[in-house]
Amino acid sequence: MDRKDEKGAAAAVEYILGLEQPMMVSGNTAEWERHSHRSCDYCAARLDQAMTIARRGDVFTGGSQTVEIDTVYQRDEVTGIWPFDVTIQEAATTITDVEGEVLFESDDISGERRIEVGLVDGEWVLVERAEIPKD
Protein backbone atom coordinates (compact mmCIF):
# COMPACT_ATOMS: atom_id res chain seq x y z
CA MET A 1 0.00 0.00 0.00
CA ASP A 2 3.05 2.24 0.21
CA ARG A 3 3.28 2.10 -3.56
CA LYS A 4 1.57 4.87 -5.52
CA ASP A 5 0.74 2.77 -8.52
CA GLU A 6 -1.77 0.15 -9.61
CA LYS A 7 -0.47 -2.44 -7.15
CA GLY A 8 -0.63 0.08 -4.32
CA ALA A 9 -4.19 0.91 -5.33
CA ALA A 10 -5.16 -2.78 -5.27
CA ALA A 11 -3.67 -3.17 -1.80
CA ALA A 12 -5.53 -0.06 -0.69
CA VAL A 13 -8.84 -1.49 -1.88
CA GLU A 14 -8.41 -4.58 0.27
CA TYR A 15 -7.14 -2.61 3.26
CA ILE A 16 -9.79 0.11 3.26
CA LEU A 17 -12.74 -2.24 2.72
CA GLY A 18 -11.35 -4.36 5.55
CA LEU A 19 -11.69 -1.40 7.94
CA GLU A 20 -15.47 -1.36 7.83
CA GLN A 21 -16.37 -4.34 9.99
CA PRO A 22 -13.97 -3.50 12.85
CA MET A 23 -15.34 0.06 12.80
CA MET A 24 -18.89 -1.25 13.18
CA VAL A 25 -17.86 -3.49 16.06
CA SER A 26 -15.61 -1.06 17.94
CA GLY A 27 -17.07 2.33 17.12
CA ASN A 28 -13.56 3.56 16.38
CA THR A 29 -14.03 5.52 13.18
CA ALA A 30 -10.68 7.31 12.91
CA GLU A 31 -8.98 5.02 10.40
CA TRP A 32 -12.12 4.81 8.23
CA GLU A 33 -12.42 8.59 8.17
CA ARG A 34 -8.73 8.92 7.35
CA HIS A 35 -9.21 6.77 4.27
CA SER A 36 -12.56 8.23 3.13
CA HIS A 37 -12.72 10.83 0.41
CA ARG A 38 -14.94 13.86 0.99
CA SER A 39 -17.12 12.95 -2.01
CA CYS A 40 -17.65 9.31 -0.97
CA ASP A 41 -21.35 8.72 -0.27
CA TYR A 42 -20.79 5.09 0.72
CA CYS A 43 -18.09 6.11 3.22
CA ALA A 44 -20.42 8.66 4.80
CA ALA A 45 -23.32 6.21 5.02
CA ARG A 46 -21.21 3.55 6.72
CA LEU A 47 -19.60 6.09 9.04
CA ASP A 48 -23.04 7.31 10.03
CA GLN A 49 -24.15 3.75 10.82
CA ALA A 50 -21.03 3.05 12.90
CA MET A 51 -21.49 6.27 14.86
CA THR A 52 -25.16 5.51 15.47
CA ILE A 53 -24.35 2.02 16.72
CA ALA A 54 -21.74 3.45 19.10
CA ARG A 55 -23.93 6.31 20.32
CA ARG A 56 -26.86 4.03 21.13
CA GLY A 57 -24.76 1.25 22.61
CA ASP A 58 -26.04 -1.21 20.03
CA VAL A 59 -24.01 -4.34 19.29
CA PHE A 60 -22.77 -5.31 15.83
CA THR A 61 -21.78 -8.94 15.28
CA GLY A 62 -20.66 -10.77 12.14
CA GLY A 63 -20.44 -8.83 8.91
CA SER A 64 -16.83 -9.62 8.07
CA GLN A 65 -16.02 -8.93 4.43
CA THR A 66 -13.75 -10.72 2.01
CA VAL A 67 -12.76 -8.93 -1.17
CA GLU A 68 -11.59 -10.49 -4.41
CA ILE A 69 -10.37 -8.19 -7.16
CA ASP A 70 -11.85 -9.21 -10.52
CA THR A 71 -10.84 -6.38 -12.85
CA VAL A 72 -8.20 -3.67 -12.63
CA TYR A 73 -8.84 -0.67 -14.85
CA GLN A 74 -6.36 1.93 -15.99
CA ARG A 75 -6.13 5.06 -13.91
CA ASP A 76 -8.78 7.51 -15.01
CA GLU A 77 -6.88 10.40 -16.56
CA VAL A 78 -9.39 13.10 -15.72
CA THR A 79 -10.04 12.32 -12.06
CA GLY A 80 -6.91 10.38 -11.14
CA ILE A 81 -9.07 7.57 -9.78
CA TRP A 82 -8.09 3.90 -9.99
CA PRO A 83 -11.29 1.90 -10.57
CA PHE A 84 -11.62 -1.80 -9.72
CA ASP A 85 -14.39 -4.34 -10.01
CA VAL A 86 -14.47 -6.67 -7.04
CA THR A 87 -16.53 -9.47 -5.60
CA ILE A 88 -17.41 -8.90 -1.96
CA GLN A 89 -18.58 -11.64 0.39
CA GLU A 90 -20.29 -10.22 3.46
CA ALA A 91 -20.92 -12.59 6.34
CA ALA A 92 -24.24 -12.72 8.15
CA THR A 93 -24.77 -9.67 10.32
CA THR A 94 -26.81 -9.02 13.44
CA ILE A 95 -27.27 -5.69 15.18
CA THR A 96 -28.98 -5.76 18.56
CA ASP A 97 -29.88 -3.03 21.02
CA VAL A 98 -28.69 -2.88 24.61
CA GLU A 99 -31.52 -5.17 25.70
CA GLY A 100 -30.64 -7.77 23.12
CA GLU A 101 -33.53 -7.01 20.78
CA VAL A 102 -32.57 -7.62 17.18
CA LEU A 103 -32.69 -4.39 15.19
CA PHE A 104 -31.19 -5.72 11.98
CA GLU A 105 -30.04 -9.02 10.60
CA SER A 106 -28.90 -10.25 7.24
CA ASP A 107 -27.75 -13.58 5.85
CA ASP A 108 -24.45 -14.17 4.09
CA ILE A 109 -24.54 -12.10 0.93
CA SER A 110 -22.20 -11.43 -1.95
CA GLY A 111 -22.08 -8.99 -4.79
CA GLU A 112 -19.94 -7.44 -7.48
CA ARG A 113 -19.13 -3.78 -7.02
CA ARG A 114 -17.11 -0.96 -8.54
CA ILE A 115 -14.49 0.39 -6.15
CA GLU A 116 -12.75 3.70 -6.80
CA VAL A 117 -9.63 4.72 -4.90
CA GLY A 118 -7.31 7.68 -5.23
CA LEU A 119 -4.50 9.51 -3.49
CA VAL A 120 -4.88 12.61 -1.34
CA ASP A 121 -1.68 14.03 0.15
CA GLY A 122 0.03 10.69 -0.37
CA GLU A 123 -2.66 8.65 1.40
CA TRP A 124 -4.97 6.20 -0.33
CA VAL A 125 -8.65 7.04 0.06
CA LEU A 126 -11.87 5.34 -0.95
CA VAL A 127 -13.58 7.64 -3.44
CA GLU A 128 -16.66 5.50 -3.96
CA ARG A 129 -18.04 1.99 -3.60
CA ALA A 130 -20.96 1.55 -5.93
CA GLU A 131 -22.90 -0.55 -8.37
CA ILE A 132 -21.01 -1.48 -11.51
CA PRO A 133 -22.34 0.70 -14.35
CA LYS A 134 -24.19 -1.12 -17.11
CA ASP A 135 -22.69 -0.36 -20.51
Partner: protein
Protein backbone atom coordinates in the same frame (compact mmCIF):
# COMPACT_ATOMS: atom_id res chain seq x y z
CA UNK B 1 -6.64 -9.67 -14.17
CA UNK B 2 -7.81 -7.80 -17.23
CA UNK B 3 -6.55 -4.27 -17.85
CA UNK B 4 -9.33 -2.15 -19.24
CA UNK B 5 -9.60 1.52 -20.14
CA UNK B 6 -12.65 3.24 -18.75
CA UNK B 7 -14.28 6.51 -19.52
CA UNK B 8 -15.00 9.18 -17.00
CA UNK B 9 -17.99 11.45 -16.78
CA UNK B 10 -21.30 11.82 -15.10
CA UNK B 11 -23.26 8.59 -15.42
CA UNK B 12 -26.70 9.30 -16.79
CA UNK B 13 -28.99 7.35 -14.56
CA UNK B 14 -32.56 6.87 -15.56
CA UNK B 15 -34.90 5.75 -12.88
CA UNK B 16 -38.62 5.93 -12.49
CA UNK B 17 -39.31 8.14 -9.54
CA UNK B 18 -40.48 5.57 -7.02
CA UNK B 19 -40.08 6.54 -3.41
CA UNK B 20 -40.23 4.05 -0.57
CA UNK B 21 -40.98 5.54 2.77
CA UNK B 22 -39.82 3.61 5.83
CA UNK B 23 -41.49 4.10 9.18
CA UNK B 24 -38.98 3.54 11.97
CA UNK B 25 -40.16 1.71 15.04
CA UNK B 26 -39.80 3.25 18.48
CA UNK B 27 -36.79 2.08 20.49
CA UNK B 28 -36.50 1.26 24.19
CA UNK B 29 -34.86 4.62 24.92
CA UNK B 30 -37.82 6.47 23.48
CA UNK B 31 -36.04 7.43 20.29
CA UNK B 32 -36.82 5.89 16.94
CA UNK B 33 -34.84 2.78 16.10
CA UNK B 34 -32.27 3.52 13.42
CA UNK B 35 -32.52 1.96 10.00
CA UNK B 36 -29.43 -0.20 9.58
CA UNK B 37 -28.21 -1.86 6.42
CA UNK B 38 -25.61 -4.33 5.25
CA UNK B 39 -22.74 -2.80 3.29
CA UNK B 40 -23.88 -4.62 0.17
CA UNK B 41 -27.21 -2.84 0.42
CA UNK B 42 -25.77 0.62 1.05
CA UNK B 43 -23.71 0.59 -2.14
CA UNK B 44 -26.29 -0.09 -4.81
CA UNK B 45 -26.27 3.29 -6.51
CA UNK B 46 -24.02 3.67 -9.54
CA UNK B 47 -20.97 5.88 -9.17
CA UNK B 48 -20.96 9.23 -10.90
CA UNK B 49 -17.17 9.39 -11.03
CA UNK B 50 -15.89 6.74 -13.38
CA UNK B 51 -17.54 4.26 -15.63
CA UNK B 52 -19.90 6.26 -17.79
CA UNK B 53 -20.12 5.02 -21.34
CA UNK B 54 -18.64 6.51 -24.45
CA UNK B 55 -22.19 7.09 -25.59
CA UNK B 56 -22.58 9.55 -22.75
CA UNK B 57 -19.40 11.28 -23.86
CA UNK B 58 -21.08 11.77 -27.21
CA UNK B 59 -24.16 13.15 -25.53
CA UNK B 60 -22.03 15.68 -23.72
CA UNK B 61 -20.94 17.00 -27.05
CA UNK B 62 -24.57 17.86 -27.83
CA UNK B 63 -25.08 14.95 -30.15
CA UNK B 64 -22.20 15.79 -32.44
CA UNK B 65 -21.22 12.13 -32.50
CA UNK B 66 -17.92 11.87 -30.71
CA UNK B 67 -15.39 9.36 -31.90
CA UNK B 68 -15.17 6.39 -29.52
CA UNK B 69 -11.59 5.72 -30.52
CA UNK B 70 -10.52 9.31 -29.96
CA UNK B 71 -7.75 10.07 -27.49
CA UNK B 72 -9.63 13.17 -26.39
CA UNK B 73 -11.66 13.07 -23.19
CA UNK B 74 -14.37 15.54 -22.34
CA UNK B 75 -15.76 16.54 -18.96
CA UNK B 76 -17.78 19.27 -17.34
CA UNK B 77 -16.61 21.07 -14.21
CA UNK B 78 -19.67 20.08 -12.17
CA UNK B 79 -19.97 20.60 -8.44
CA UNK B 80 -19.47 16.89 -7.82
CA UNK B 81 -16.51 16.65 -10.15
CA UNK B 82 -14.83 19.58 -8.48
CA UNK B 83 -15.06 17.73 -5.16
CA UNK B 84 -12.51 15.36 -6.70
CA UNK B 85 -10.04 18.14 -7.38
CA UNK B 86 -7.97 17.31 -4.29
CA UNK B 87 -6.99 13.93 -5.73
CA UNK B 88 -3.44 13.52 -6.92
CA UNK B 89 -2.87 13.20 -10.66
CA UNK B 90 -6.19 14.80 -11.55
CA UNK B 91 -6.57 17.47 -14.19
CA UNK B 92 -9.58 18.81 -12.31
CA UNK B 93 -7.38 20.84 -9.98
CA UNK B 94 -6.40 23.32 -12.64
CA UNK B 95 -10.02 23.70 -13.71
CA UNK B 96 -11.84 23.79 -10.39
CA UNK B 97 -9.37 25.60 -8.17
CA UNK B 98 -9.40 28.66 -10.37
CA UNK B 99 -12.96 29.41 -9.29
CA UNK B 100 -13.86 30.83 -12.65
CA UNK B 101 -17.33 31.20 -14.04
CA UNK B 102 -16.80 28.01 -16.02
CA UNK B 103 -17.47 25.83 -12.98
CA UNK B 104 -21.04 25.15 -12.02
CA UNK B 105 -21.01 27.09 -8.77
CA UNK B 106 -19.80 30.22 -10.49
CA UNK B 107 -22.66 30.55 -12.95
CA UNK B 108 -25.58 32.74 -11.90
CA UNK B 109 -28.81 31.52 -13.52
CA UNK B 110 -32.48 32.41 -13.08
CA UNK B 111 -34.73 30.05 -11.09
CA UNK B 112 -36.06 28.20 -14.12
CA UNK B 113 -32.63 27.45 -15.60
CA UNK B 114 -29.78 25.03 -14.91
CA UNK B 115 -26.17 26.11 -14.50
CA UNK B 116 -24.35 23.89 -16.99
CA UNK B 117 -20.68 23.86 -16.16
CA UNK B 118 -18.08 24.57 -18.80
CA UNK B 119 -17.00 21.76 -21.11
CA UNK B 120 -13.32 20.84 -21.10
CA UNK B 121 -11.16 18.42 -23.05
CA UNK B 122 -7.89 16.71 -22.32
CA UNK B 123 -5.80 14.88 -24.87
CA UNK B 124 -4.26 11.62 -23.75
CA UNK B 125 -0.70 10.85 -24.70
CA UNK B 126 0.64 7.44 -25.64
CA UNK B 127 2.77 7.24 -22.48
CA UNK B 128 -0.14 7.73 -20.07
CA UNK B 129 0.30 11.47 -19.81
CA UNK B 130 -2.40 13.97 -20.61
CA UNK B 131 -2.52 17.55 -21.83
CA UNK B 132 -3.68 20.47 -19.73
CA UNK B 133 -7.49 20.83 -19.92
CA UNK B 134 -8.72 23.01 -22.79
CA UNK B 135 -11.93 24.94 -22.44
CA UNK B 136 -14.30 23.88 -25.21
CA UNK B 137 -17.35 25.86 -24.19
CA UNK B 138 -18.04 28.30 -21.37
CA UNK B 139 -20.51 27.52 -18.64
CA UNK B 140 -24.01 28.59 -19.51
CA UNK B 141 -27.58 28.73 -18.26
CA UNK B 142 -29.71 26.05 -19.89
CA UNK B 143 -33.45 26.60 -20.13
CA UNK B 144 -36.26 24.22 -21.05
CA UNK B 145 -36.31 25.61 -24.58
CA UNK B 146 -32.77 24.29 -25.11
CA UNK B 147 -33.87 20.76 -24.22
CA UNK B 148 -37.17 20.38 -26.08
CA UNK B 149 -35.92 18.10 -28.85
CA UNK B 150 -34.04 15.86 -26.40
CA UNK B 151 -37.03 15.75 -24.07
CA UNK B 152 -39.29 14.66 -26.92
CA UNK B 153 -36.89 11.86 -27.78
CA UNK B 154 -36.64 10.75 -24.15
CA UNK B 155 -40.42 10.81 -23.75
CA UNK B 156 -40.87 8.53 -26.76
CA UNK B 157 -38.57 5.99 -25.04
CA UNK B 158 -40.06 6.39 -21.58
CA UNK B 159 -41.09 3.05 -20.03
CA UNK B 160 -44.67 3.92 -19.09
CA UNK B 161 -46.60 1.32 -17.10
CA UNK B 162 -50.08 0.68 -18.57
CA UNK B 163 -53.02 2.11 -16.63
CA UNK B 164 -54.69 -0.96 -15.10
CA UNK B 165 -58.36 -1.87 -15.50
CA UNK B 166 -60.23 -2.25 -12.23
CA UNK B 167 -63.71 -3.78 -12.29
CA UNK B 168 -66.45 -2.61 -9.96
CA UNK B 169 -66.81 -6.26 -8.92
CA UNK B 170 -63.78 -8.41 -9.67
CA UNK B 171 -65.27 -11.46 -11.39
CA UNK B 172 -64.99 -13.27 -14.69
CA UNK B 173 -68.65 -13.19 -15.68
CA UNK B 174 -71.37 -10.64 -16.46
CA UNK B 175 -75.05 -10.51 -17.38
CA UNK B 176 -76.30 -9.39 -20.77
CA UNK B 177 -77.19 -5.67 -20.82
CA UNK B 178 -75.81 -5.14 -17.32
CA UNK B 179 -72.24 -5.72 -18.40
CA UNK B 180 -69.31 -4.38 -16.44
CA UNK B 181 -68.24 -1.03 -14.96
CA UNK B 182 -64.49 -0.70 -15.38
CA UNK B 183 -62.36 2.18 -14.21
CA UNK B 184 -58.68 2.96 -13.88
CA UNK B 185 -56.29 5.29 -12.06
CA UNK B 186 -55.22 8.67 -13.39
CA UNK B 187 -51.76 8.57 -11.85
CA UNK B 188 -48.89 10.49 -13.44
CA UNK B 189 -45.59 8.69 -13.98
CA UNK B 190 -42.32 10.58 -13.54
CA UNK B 191 -38.89 9.59 -14.85
CA UNK B 192 -35.63 11.17 -13.71
CA UNK B 193 -33.04 11.34 -16.45
CA UNK B 194 -30.18 13.45 -17.77
CA UNK B 195 -30.36 15.32 -21.07
CA UNK B 196 -27.19 16.90 -22.45
CA UNK B 197 -25.71 16.84 -18.97
CA UNK B 198 -28.76 18.49 -17.39
CA UNK B 199 -30.85 16.61 -14.80
CA UNK B 200 -34.45 16.54 -16.00
CA UNK B 201 -37.78 15.10 -14.90
CA UNK B 202 -40.14 13.81 -17.57
CA UNK B 203 -43.76 13.33 -16.64
CA UNK B 204 -46.32 11.22 -18.50
CA UNK B 205 -49.93 11.94 -17.63
CA UNK B 206 -53.02 10.11 -18.90
CA UNK B 207 -54.96 12.36 -21.26
CA UNK B 208 -57.49 10.02 -22.85
CA UNK B 209 -58.94 6.59 -22.16
CA UNK B 210 -60.47 4.32 -24.80
CA UNK B 211 -62.56 1.44 -23.48
CA UNK B 212 -63.23 -1.46 -25.83
CA UNK B 213 -65.67 -4.14 -24.69
CA UNK B 214 -64.21 -6.62 -27.14
CA UNK B 215 -67.62 -7.30 -28.74
CA UNK B 216 -69.24 -5.55 -31.71
CA UNK B 217 -70.02 -2.33 -29.87
CA UNK B 218 -68.01 0.81 -30.63
CA UNK B 219 -65.22 1.73 -28.19
CA UNK B 220 -65.90 4.55 -25.73
CA UNK B 221 -63.35 7.34 -25.31
CA UNK B 222 -63.27 9.52 -22.19
CA UNK B 223 -61.02 12.13 -20.68
CA UNK B 224 -61.56 10.73 -17.19
CA UNK B 225 -60.64 7.35 -15.69
CA UNK B 226 -64.20 6.25 -14.86
CA UNK B 227 -65.91 6.07 -11.52
CA UNK B 228 -68.39 4.16 -9.36
CA UNK B 229 -71.25 2.52 -11.24
CA UNK B 230 -73.74 5.10 -9.87
CA UNK B 231 -71.59 8.18 -10.58
CA UNK B 232 -71.68 10.50 -13.57
CA UNK B 233 -68.20 9.30 -14.57
CA UNK B 234 -69.18 5.61 -14.62
CA UNK B 235 -68.06 3.63 -17.67
CA UNK B 236 -70.56 0.97 -18.75
CA UNK B 237 -69.70 -1.78 -21.19
CA UNK B 238 -73.19 -3.36 -21.39
CA UNK B 239 -72.62 -6.48 -23.52
CA UNK B 240 -75.93 -6.76 -25.38
CA UNK B 241 -75.15 -10.31 -26.54
CA UNK B 242 -73.93 -13.35 -24.64
CA UNK B 243 -70.46 -14.75 -25.31
CA UNK B 244 -66.89 -14.63 -24.09
CA UNK B 245 -65.15 -11.28 -24.43
CA UNK B 246 -61.93 -9.57 -23.38
CA UNK B 247 -62.28 -5.90 -22.56
CA UNK B 248 -59.34 -3.56 -23.04
CA UNK B 249 -58.27 -0.07 -22.08
CA UNK B 250 -56.00 1.96 -24.31
CA UNK B 251 -54.56 4.95 -22.47
CA UNK B 252 -53.11 7.91 -24.35
CA UNK B 253 -50.35 9.64 -22.43
CA UNK B 254 -49.15 13.18 -22.94
CA UNK B 255 -45.79 14.41 -21.69
CA UNK B 256 -44.19 17.33 -19.92
CA UNK B 257 -40.68 17.97 -18.66
CA UNK B 258 -38.83 20.33 -16.39
CA UNK B 259 -35.26 20.87 -15.33
CA UNK B 260 -35.01 19.12 -11.97
CA UNK B 261 -35.56 21.55 -9.14
CA UNK B 262 -37.31 24.16 -11.24
CA UNK B 263 -41.05 24.78 -10.88
CA UNK B 264 -42.31 25.00 -14.45
CA UNK B 265 -43.42 22.03 -16.55
CA UNK B 266 -43.11 22.38 -20.33
CA UNK B 267 -45.33 20.41 -22.73
CA UNK B 268 -43.73 17.78 -24.97
CA UNK B 269 -45.00 17.15 -28.49
CA UNK B 270 -46.19 13.64 -29.25
CA UNK B 271 -47.99 11.00 -27.26
CA UNK B 272 -47.64 7.44 -26.01
CA UNK B 273 -50.26 4.72 -25.72
CA UNK B 274 -50.47 1.74 -23.40
CA UNK B 275 -53.02 -1.07 -23.27
CA UNK B 276 -54.35 -3.23 -20.48
CA UNK B 277 -56.86 -6.07 -20.87
CA UNK B 278 -59.17 -8.03 -18.63
CA UNK B 279 -59.22 -11.78 -18.36
CA UNK B 280 -61.93 -13.33 -20.58
CA UNK B 281 -65.41 -12.46 -19.33
CA UNK B 282 -68.30 -14.92 -19.76
CA UNK B 283 -71.46 -12.95 -20.57
CA UNK B 284 -74.70 -14.85 -19.83
CA UNK B 285 -78.38 -14.29 -20.51
CA UNK B 286 -80.28 -13.79 -17.30
CA UNK B 287 -83.03 -16.38 -16.87
CA UNK B 288 -86.28 -15.34 -15.18
CA UNK B 289 -87.68 -18.03 -12.89
CA UNK B 290 -91.07 -17.72 -11.22
CA UNK B 291 -91.25 -19.46 -7.90
CA UNK B 292 -93.87 -19.97 -5.20
Amino acid sequence: MALVRTTSLLAATTTLGLVLVGVPASGADGTSDPIYDAGLVDDQEPSVNVGATLEEQDALLNGTGGDSSSNTRYFRATVHYCLLSDLENTVLRTVCDEGTETIATGIDCPDDAFALAGLFAVTLGTNGSESAPRLISEGTCVTAADLEAEAERAFQNMPVEPAQIHLEIERDWAIVNFGIHPRTDDTDQVMDTTLLGVPVQIRAYPAEYTWDAGDDTAPTTTDHPGGRWDSADAINLPYPEPGTFTASLTTTWHGQFRITGTPTWTDIDGELTTTDSTDPIEVHDAEVRLTG
